[in-house]
């Protein structure tokens, strides 16, 4: 009987692994948010000096989006988060119909929507709480934190160690980009390779903070898709 039990345990373990592998579908939101983050990069290009106020390429837009960023950047982040949330929801619904295995994504969807509400609210309270909120909003990429939190919740629902590692890395890069100037790391690296100050890409360096997590998400998503394809 115990040999039967051993065989049964092995069969059940195989069933569990194959079902989990078939159910997991996180390559899509990784690639999607990777593209959306990289898509923000051109908006971080600074105009040639001299410039007044915000020196990003297009700095006119509604004030109520200030929590996301100035002007076109604010509009872009709001649209990117909404598009990312909606397409991820639709993707998981389609994947459930196609595979016969459903993962409910209420958790990450709520996290993203709550993040949007917080950033919308930040514009109205920013004046009174400017000392507290300013560090998170000044670099106009707080949306990165919203993306990262949603992905951490998704990693829990997907029961994926791979996705958890990716989400933790992206969360770390998001905190770095939001509260620090990560382009300083790029300048130090270029300096190590002998690039002179006059040749530093100062105008384009602002994009580094969004390109780095975006590239990580894209690479991780493509790798996950390749892994899925190999399994099938």
């Amino acid at each position: 009987m115990s040999q039967d039990a051993q065989r049964l345990l092995a069969d059940l373990d195989g069933l569990r692994r194959s079902t989990r592998g078939r159910r997991q579908a996180y390559w899509f939101p990784l690639v999607l948010f990777g593209l959306l983050l990289c898509g923000a990069a051109p908006l971080f290009v600074r105009m040639a000096a001299p410039c007044e106020g915000s020196c990003y390429v297009a700095a006119t837009g509604p004030g109520w989006l200030r929590g996301f960023g100035d002007g076109v950047l604010g509009v872009y982040w709001l649209c990117a988060l909404l598009v990312g949330t909606v397409l991820t929801t639709l993707w998981y619904a389609w994947h459930a119909r196609d595979s016969g295995l459903r993962t409910r994504v209420r958790g990450p969807v709520l996290a993203w929507l709550l993040g949007i509400v917080v950033l919308l609210g930040a514009a109205t309270v920013a004046a009174s709480l400017s000392v507290v909120l300013w560090p998170a909003l000044v670099r106009q990429d707080a949306a990165l934190l919203v993306v990262a939190v949603g992905l951490l919740v998704l990693a829990r629902l997907e029961r994926s160690r791979y996705l958890l590692v990716v989400a933790v890395v992206v969360a770390g890069l998001a905190v770095l980009a939001t509260y620090y100037n990560p382009e300083n790391l790029l300048f130090r690296l270029l300096h190590l390779f002998g690039v002179a100050d006059a040749s530093m890409p100062f105008r384009f360096a602002g994009a580094f903070g969004v390109l780095l997590p975006g590239a990580v998400l894209l690479a991780a998503g493509v790798a996950a898709l390749a892994g899925d394809a190999r399994r099938r």
């Binding site: 009987m1 115990s2 039990a5 069969d11 194959s18 295995l101 459903r102 409910r104």
Partner: protein, 109 residues
């Protein structure tokens, strides 16, 4: 000493029902055809096993439609998860005792 087979639940300890619970535990919902195809059961056979599990409160079965196509979704309940975990523990204990017995017999030989 209690027999390790005493930990096995009659409702759960059936190969296909264990398979159903194992698959259902890996998703929020699993579709009927996925269970049928993965476990290699006929629709009638699968329905009988699902009825047993549903009567025992270990799964819930929700019927719906996708367009004109009927769809049946199966979810494991909290009781189902507990029963599956208990069954797996009992099976592992069975194997562990067998391996210990084999080891002791080899030492004595």
């Amino acid at each position: 000493m209690t027999s390790p087979t005493g930990g096995l639940d009659e409702v759960v300890h059936q190969r296909h029902r264990l398979g159903i619970l194992t698959i259902a535990a890996e998703a929020d919902q699993v579709e009927f055809t996925y269970l049928r195809d993965t476990l290699g059961l006929t629709a009638g056979n699968l329905n009988r096993h699902l009825a047993v599990l549903e009567d025992a409160g270990l799964v819930t079965v929700a019927k719906g439609h996708l367009g004109r196509r009927p769809r049946t979704w199966v979810s494991i309940t909290a009781a189902g998860r507990s029963a599956l975990a208990a069954e797996m523990t009992a099976l592992r204990e069975l194997v562990r005792r067998h391996e210990r017995g084999v080891g002791e017999a080899a030492d004595g030989a």
